[in-house]
């Protein structure tokens, strides 16, 4: 028998964790993986009702819809439940001319919010990339301690990290360990 792993439920129930960075799990939003030929940028932008970002790491927002460019032909779209239905309908409309893949991944990932002046330092315990190069309003798909994550920087001191559900206990545990370490201050 293996040792008891912290479960997702443990994470959700976790309280009393201290550290300079405020960590919390965000309510589950609607999330879609969009893959399409970037040559159809205009049509895709039209369906999304925003200017589709084509540089990896760039983001665009409009009316509760947020798109992050993850790869040359890959985006992640965040919205709420109603927004998702609208996006799905708009994309179904253009499928004939603009073939693409739009997959609901709302349940695949769970988002962690990190808030505080030490958030970047906290992330540096597991992220090998230069986090200072992700400016507010941008994002990156990267690793946190060997786990693939999508990192969105919403402000100088505010990040969202999206993790596949089953990896959350590991990532959450590490973040809390490191947050405690920041509290100690050495």
């Amino acid at each position: 028998m293996m040792t008891n792993a912290a479960t997702l439920q443990d994470c959700l129930a976790a309280t009393g964790l201290s550290g300079p960075v405020e960590l919390r799990l965000l309510p589950e939003p609607a999330r879609m993986a969009l893959r399409a030929d970037p040559a159809h940028g205009n049509a895709l932008s039209g369906a999304l009702r925003l200017e589709l970002p084509t540089k990896i790491g760039d983001r665009a927002n409009n009316d509760g819809l947020e798109v992050l460019c993850l790869g040359p032909d890959e985006w992640v779209v965040h919205t709420d439940g109603e927004g998702m239905a609208a996006v799905q309908a708009a994309f179904a409309e253009i499928y004939g001319e603009v073939p693409h893949s739009l997959v609901d991944i709302s349940d695949r990932d769970i988002a962690i919010e990190l808030r505080g002046a030490a958030a970047e330092t906290l992330l540096s315990t597991g992220c090998p990339i230069d986090l200072s190069r992700i400016r507010p309003g941008h994002g990156k798909r990267t690793l946190f301690d060997s786990v693939q994550v999508v990192l969105l920087r919403d402000g100088e001191d505010l990040f969202r990290m999206e993790v596949w559900r089953s990896f959350l206990p590991h990532v959450w545990g590490l973040l809390n360990t490191a947050n405690r370490e920041l509290e100690v201050g050495l």
Partner: protein
């Protein structure tokens, strides 16, 4: 206060005494002391015994290169460390230290008998001495050698400390905070570059800490140092870290640093990590590591009290400690003369300066004379005397290269200097080439392979002024290369000390060199004559000499010994040093704790453990788990009193009789979408997909280019352009990567895209004759009757109110369904099904039951019944190959001569002759059990279980030409007996498949 401390002198805090212990005795040092400086202040030189000969040894250096003063330190329960360098460990109140490699005590050590048996322990002794009698090896030689091997005592308890790690990015990483490094950091920092300056010492300053006499920009060196550090501290773009060692220089300017956080603290904050590993990715690196002083090689050069002159200077000026009452200086380099001058000026009577050179700078001679120091130029040293401390040095004039009659100089310390070796360790890690400099007789950095700059003494420069200028230049170049525009900071230096020297092999002696104990490698007890012996015995490369003598193979990696060893080997061979070579430095630069490498990865965080949405229910209900790839999966659900066997039998029977429920969420899932999805599927998988209707499923088989089975799974078509692909649990990431690879590199023209949905869905499998009865009332939007939803169907509908993708498939041979719902609903659905299924005695089962049930039906598990060399034909899966398809991954390989030849191992069933015998998985199979050993093995058992449904054991195996052996009896030899088994087909239960058709 101790007798060897000079009041008010040095950088230690004379107002803050600190108590610590060494070998059980209490000592007092000062805040700022290392263990070595504090013991020296108490007149203690003897700090250890050597590794091989157990010779008494004193501290030789004042830095990380220390080979002798290696102590055991303890910071409380579980917190003990062997081989701590006394020259690096800072003292704090309550620190406990002990000497090593001695019994019963440091002053009287029985192991020292080895010293008198030196002739037995010559170089390569273990290759020669213990050859015979052969029977002695296991019982005598090896146990004795093992007991003697290793220095220090490893801790026996788990390490209670925690260790941290971080990734760091910077424009310029400067390694070493001596004058060159400080100047580099100032240049780079002033230009606005993100700069990280690190030093392994407790304090920044490097050689400035030992040589305060220089005046820089009009300020005494230590004032300049503190203003420089203040300036760096004030720059937001500069970070200065002390107690931080660069342990390795890896590809593309990745440098590993270990920062020691608490080892110097009497009361570390609770939960503070002991060390932190920093993985630095630097645009540019400046190596300003300085140089390491070389010992001179002469008989008795290892006696306690014999130490490096530069170390004595450090103890005097930095720590305010005089290393003796009557030191003598023995040198071939100018630098040691200044040690004599500073000691003399501090009131320590210097017994003489012995220089192997005849031609010494006139200023030095004049300075020595004016202080009344006796000068012996053109002299060699032929021996020392004293047991636990040196009492005299015997020197001889060198006449025509030979030693003349000896003179004895009474002394209590010998301060030697054989020149300086640039510290090239990190540069060597980059595989940068080294260049032999004939003038200074040392290696210097040559061609660079990384974005690295070497500054100061590390590239053979001498003096504070030169180091500052060179460092400033390197820092500016680095900042420029990193995209900044830097000015080269200028420094005006007076009071600098020049330094030139000569290089020696072992010093000439008038005594028998064959009996001289002239040490090169203090830690491994290698002498000059060992090197010459190795050369005589045929070792002509320094790599061979090193391994034969163990020179440079101790934990100090030969920081003091490498060049001396090389010079003597090259002299013995009559070849130039570059022709003899240089051994390779490898990371880590200095011994590093395992904890620093582990970082956070211990206990619960040792490795990722993935769990499914249903895992909490399994845990609550007493599941026994097993790891499957990174997942933990419920293996079986024992009821009170059940072992695995009973639990699995019960789960199997319940599923076949009525209804079983299984968490299949770990199955890999990939959404394949786009107009070319079907073409893509045709190319990837062996099966034909074109004619698969929407709402239908098919078993898919994936091969590698080599034609061997890689993965399998059931694939459903949800629309003409959309496939829901499932993969094995362990194969999910590599299947997606393989597909993406083909798509990007081979078929970029295909309009199809892949998305991993493994974790989007929680998957629950329901199997058993009552599966439909349970589901039917819960499903909306799909008729579940056999006509409307036959075996191998898929539909989108709702189950228990949750949106679902419902498959009718079976991995058990029973009527089966797999319900996929968004992961957040997985646990709720499971609970609903458990509650509603109570009327059918629903039975949760785990992976073990799943394995048995599938084996009864002959369904393979990729990776268990296949091993990466099994083709579809070998596995009896030829039916899964779309023979009319023009191509698919692996198709051409399937026609390879070796894949169609006879004699291949083929998957068959095995029925043991004794039905109660369950074979061991992995057991080897032979045709004739009476053949002589070694027998010809013709295959092995891949799966083997007790089948409760059949009331007997079943097994699958891969056997040479297995298909042709149906009905043959084969044999499985095991330690207790040889089992007989009859070759059968692989479908053991319900071969007609009637139970699927309910």
């Amino acid at each position: 206060m101790s007798g060897f401390r000079l009041p008010g002198r040095g950088r230690v805090n004379h107002d803050r005494p600190v108590g610590f212990s060494f070998d059980g005795d209490s000592y007092q040092g000062l805040e700022g002391d290392t263990v070595a400086s504090a013991l020296l202040a108490n007149g203690v030189h003897l700090m250890g015994r050597s590794f091989k000969y157990h010779r008494p040894r004193g501290v030789v250096t004042a830095g990380p290169e220390e080979p002798n003063a290696l102590l055991g330190t303890s910071r409380g329960e579980g917190r003990s460390e062997p081989n701590t360098r006394a020259t690096m460990q800072e003292i704090y109140s309550g620190l406990t230290t002990t000497s090593q490699n001695r019994f019963p005590s440091l002053n009287f050590d029985l192991g020292a008998v080895n010293d008198h048996l030196g002739m037995l322990f010559s170089a390569g002794f273990y290759y020669k001495t213990f050859m015979w009698p052969k029977s002695f090896w296991d019982r005598v030689y090896e146990p004795v050698i093992r007991r003697a091997a290793g220095l220090g005592v490893s801790p026996s308890e788990p390490d209670p400390d925690t260790y941290a790690s971080r990734f760091v990015h910077c424009d310029v990483l400067v390694v070493g905070a001596g004058p060159a490094g400080l100047a580099a950091a100032l240049s780079a920092g002033r230009a606005g570059a993100r700069t990280l300056l690190i030093d392994e010492g407790a304090e920044s300053g490097g050689s400035l800490l030992s040589e305060p006499q220089a005046v820089i920009d009009g300020k005494p060196a230590w004032d300049w140092l503190s203003s420089a550090l203040d300036e760096l501290d004030g720059m937001v773009n500069v970070t200065v870290l002390s107690r931080t060692t660069a342990i390795g220089y890896y590809h593309q300017n990745m440098v590993g640093l270990v920062q020691r956080l608490t080892d110097h603290l009497a009361e570390p904050p609770a939960d503070a990590p002991r060390e932190r590993m920093l993985r630095v990715r630097a645009d540019q690196v400046v190596l300003a590591q300085g140089a390491i002083e070389k010992p001179l090689v002469f008989d008795g050069n290892d006696r306690p009290g014999v130490m490096l002159a530069g170390a004595a200077l450090t103890y005097l000026n930095r720590y305010g400690v005089r290393v003796g009452d009557r030191p003598v200086v023995l040198t071939s380099h100018d630098s040691a003369w200044y040690t004599a001058f500073d000691l003399s000026d501090a009131g320590v009577p210097v017994a003489g300066i012995v220089d192997t050179r005849t031609d010494v700078d006139l200023d030095l001679l004049e300075n020595a004379r004016s202080r009344g120091i006796v000068i012996y130029t053109g002299h060699t040293a032929s021996s020392t005397a004293g047991r636990l401390r040196v009492t005299s040095l015997r020197v001889n004039p060198i006449l025509n290269g030979k030693a003349g009659p000896g003179v004895t100089i009474e002394c209590d310390a010998v301060l030697m200097c054989g020149g300086w070796t640039p510290s090239l360790h990190l540069f060597s890690h980059t595989k940068g080439s080294l260049r032999w400099d004939e003038e200074t007789r040392t290696y210097l950095p040559g061609e660079r392979t990384e974005e690295v700059h070497i500054a100061g003494a590390g590239r053979g420069l001498w003096g504070t002024g030169a180091a500052l200028a060179d460092g400033a230049d390197a820092g500016a170049k680095a900042a420029d290369a990193a995209g900044h525009s830097a000015d080269v900071s200028q420094f005006d230096v007076t009071g600098d000390r020049g330094g030139t020297g000569a290089s020696n092999v072992e010093l000439p002696t008038d005594r028998n060199p064959a009996t001289a104990k002239a040490f090169i490698d203090f830690q491994n007890d290698v002498t000059a004559k060992d090197i010459r012996l190795a050369v005589r015995e045929g070792m002509h490369s320094i790599e061979h000499v090193k391994r034969y003598t163990t020179n440079g193979m101790a934990t100090d990696q030969g920081k003091l010994s490498n060049i001396n060893g090389l010079m003597i080997a090259s002299d013995a061979l009559g070849r130039n040093a570059p022709e003899v070579g240089l051994t390779t430095f490898r990371p880590p630069y200095s011994p590093t704790t395992f904890g620093a490498f582990c970082g956070y990865h211990r206990g619960e965080r040792f490795e990722v453990i993935r769990t499914t949405p249903i895992d909490p229910w399994a845990e609550e209900n007493g599941a026994v788990f097993e790891p499957v790839a990174l997942w933990r999966r419920a293996r079986y659900f024992p009821q009170p009193g059940e072992d695995m066997h009973t639990a699995v039998n019960r789960e199997c029977a319940a599923t076949r009789k009525s209804l079983g429920i299984f968490d299949a969420s770990t199955l890999g899932k990939i959404e394949v979408a786009g107009p070319d999805a079907v073409e893509f599927m045709n190319r990837m998988y062996t099966n034909p997909w074109t004619k698969l209707g929407v709402g239908r499923c098919r078993y898919g088989l994936l091969l590698g280019e080599d034609g061997f089975i890689r993965d399998d799974g059931v694939i459903g078509r949800l629309s003409p352009d959309l496939f829901h692909v499932t993969t094995t649990t362990g194969g999910a990431p590599r299947v997606l990567a393989m597909m993406e690879d083909y798509l990007q590199t081979e078929w970029p023209d295909l309009k199809v895209w892949l998305t991993s949905t493994t974790e989007q869905w929680a998957t629950i499998a329901l199997n058993g004759p009552n599966a439909r009865k349970l589901l039917e009332p819960l499903v909306e939007g799909q008729d579940l009757s056999d006509d409307a939803f036959p075996h191998m169907s898929v539909a989108e509908c709702t189950v228990a109110g949750f949106p679902a993708r419902l498959f009718r498939i079976s991995f058990t041979g029973e009527l089966g369904f797999e319900v996929n719902v968004p992961a957040r609903h997985g646990l709720d659905l499971w609970k609903t099904l458990m509650a509603e299924g109570a009327q059918y005695d629903i039975c949760p089962y785990g992976t073990e039951t799943m394995h048995v049930l599938r084996a009864e039906k002959g369904y393979i598990i990729v990776g268990q019944d296949t091993d990466g060399t099994v083709t579809p034909q070998d596995a009896g899966l030829s039916w899964a190959i779309g023979k009319a398809k023009p191509d698919f991954v692996g198709k051409r390989s399937l026609a390879r001569p070796d894949l169609v030849a006879s004699g291949r191992k083929q998957l068959v069933g095995l029925m043991t002759v004794d039905p109660k015998t369950v074979l061991e998985e992995g057991a080897q199979i032979v045709a004739d059990p009476n053949q002589p050993i070694p027998m010809k093995m013709i295959g092995h058992v891949t799966s083997s279980y007790w089948s409760e449904a059949l009331g007997r054991s079943i097994a699958m195996a891969v056997v040479e030409d297995g298909f042709e052996r149906k009905g043959d009896t084969l044999h499985i030899p095991m330690p207790d007996k040889t089992h007989a088994a009859v070759v059968s087909g692989t479908v053991f239960y319900d071969p007609e498949g009637d139970r699927l058709k309910l």
